[in-house]
Every structure is written in structure tokens, then in C-alpha cells.
Symmetry: C2
Subunit: 146 residues, 2 copies
């Protein structure tokens, strides 16, 4: 069986470690939508060992913290669904009260028109955010368990 997350990065690469990688997803209306993708093929979170789960969630939390510090989003949304692509990946999404779907989940119906000017303001911050995210992940990976 071919798997798109085994065969490709799955988005714009931000950082790659031994066990997982972080990519930016190109999802219309959500300028700060990231995925933490487990490198090895595993379908469910509980297919990982306890140490691997801890490692995975440390990365998810670190990505979340950088998004919060740099973008001050209204809320962070975390999700591991995998119904279509059953290869473990965590969505880490900065949500804003002005985004097209807030407070609904990104998968629900839109609540309003997109605010492309505000989206562009977020996008302008991403190069610096990605540099900081890489620094933090690199430093963490040097000390991490698993």
C-alpha cells in the first residue's frame, strides 16, 4: 500500500528529526496550520511506545508554544484524525477569532468570508517564526527522550 506521508514530506518542510518532522500545510484560510508527522508508518497514537508518545507530544507542545508566542492566536487546535491518511500526524493549528471558521472546527462549515489582509499579516511573520521553531526543536532534540 502506498502512503502519501511515507512517500512525501506532506507539506512545506520546517524541521526534520530522527522520529518526526514538522511541516506547514497549505490550507486555504488558515495561514498558521502545521503538522507534526511521525516519520515511521503508524496508524494510531497508541501504536507508539510510551516513550515515543511522550517524544511526539513534546514536539506538538513545542510547536504550539512557538505559535502562541509569535502569533497570539485566539486558540490552538490539536488533532490526530487520520481517517483518510492513516499515518500518524498531528494537526497544530493557530486559530483566530477573525478566521473564516472560528469558533467552528476547520473541518466544519465556514462562518464568514476570509480576511485575506489579516491572513497576509500572519504569513509575513512566518519566516521568523520558522527560524525560531527550528531553533527550539533542534535544541529540544539534542536533549529529548526516545
Amino acid at each position: 500500500m502506498s502512503c502519501v506521508l511515507c512517500d512525501t514530506d506532506g507539506g512545506q518542510p520546517v524541521w526534520r528529526g530522527a522520529h518526526l518532522r514538522v511541516i506547514r500545510a497549505d490550507e486555504a484560510g488558515f495561514p498558521a496550520f502545521y503538522r507534526v508527522i511521525w516519520n515511521a508508518h503508524a496508524a494510531e497514537f497508541s501504536d507508539l511506545s510510551g516513550d515515543e508518545r511522550q517524544h511526539c507530544m513534546q514536539a506538538v507542545s513545542l510547536v504550539e508554544q512557538v505559535l502562541r508566542e509569535q502569533l497570539q492566536p485566539t486558540k490552538i487546535n490539536l488533532a490526530a484524525l487520520g481517517n483518510v491518511v492513516p499515518h500518524l500526524h498531528w494537526h497544530v493549528i493557530a486559530r483566530f477569532a477573525w478566521d473564516s471558521h472560528f469558533p467552528a472546527p476547520v473541518w466544519a462549515a465556514a462562518q464568514r468570508e476570509r480576511d485575506t489582509a489579516r491572513e497576509a499579516q500572519v504569513v509575513a511573520q512566518l519566516p521568523a517564526l520558522h527560524r525560531l521553531m527550528r531553533e527550539r526543536l533542534e535544541r529540544w532534540a539534542g536533549q529529548a527522550v526516545a
Copy 2:
């Protein structure tokens, strides 16, 4: 500010520990929809300490494992959104290929009619599943970090 997850259990109580509780949610079409709710009020996952995050995700994984063993779902969906109720709660949802929304997220548009006969077959298994879930959580809580 009043918070529904500070003021109420937030669903059918399954288990309560010192730091978190597990409830069954009554969500139409999803007979095995659980939430792991952090007892103290915290908005974001990264508001918890590292030990608290590990504790929280051990419980999420344990709930997931019991659902997998007992129900053999097509997929588990995990999510911490909190856009409407910003009090940390993890959705742990057993998804079935026959459910009304699969493979779409539960928050998206339905894909087909509900299969209430199959839903009832799942519901019939829940008393035994809840007993097992409580046993596992109780045993784990006796040994857990944080």
C-alpha cells in the same frame, strides 16, 4: 467567568482521578465518543507542565487502547479544540467506516444516513467497556507520574 467544564462533569462520568476525568459524550451518531477533561481550568495543552502533559496523554492513550481492544473501530480520532469551551478537554472518538460521517471528521457534513442498528450494537458493549476502562485507569493512576 463561568465555565461549563468547571461547573459540571461535562457528560456521563466514567472515571475521575486527581487531575483528570473521563466522560462519555452524548453525540448523536457517535456511540463511542469520550472526553478526557483536565480537572483544573487550563485553556491550552501547553499551559500544563511537562509532567502534567505526559499524565494527560497517558490517560488519552489508555482510553484509546480500551476503545480499540473492545470495539475494533476503523480509526480513533483525537482532538483538543476548545474554541467554544476553552477548558482543556481531549475528544477520543471511535470511528467506524459505517458511521454517518466517516471518513470526514465528526464536525464536517454527514456522508450518509445513520445506521442506528449498528450504533445500538456498540452501545450494548459499553457497560463492559466502561468497567474495563475504569479498572485500567485506576491501576494506572496508582502508578502514574504527576
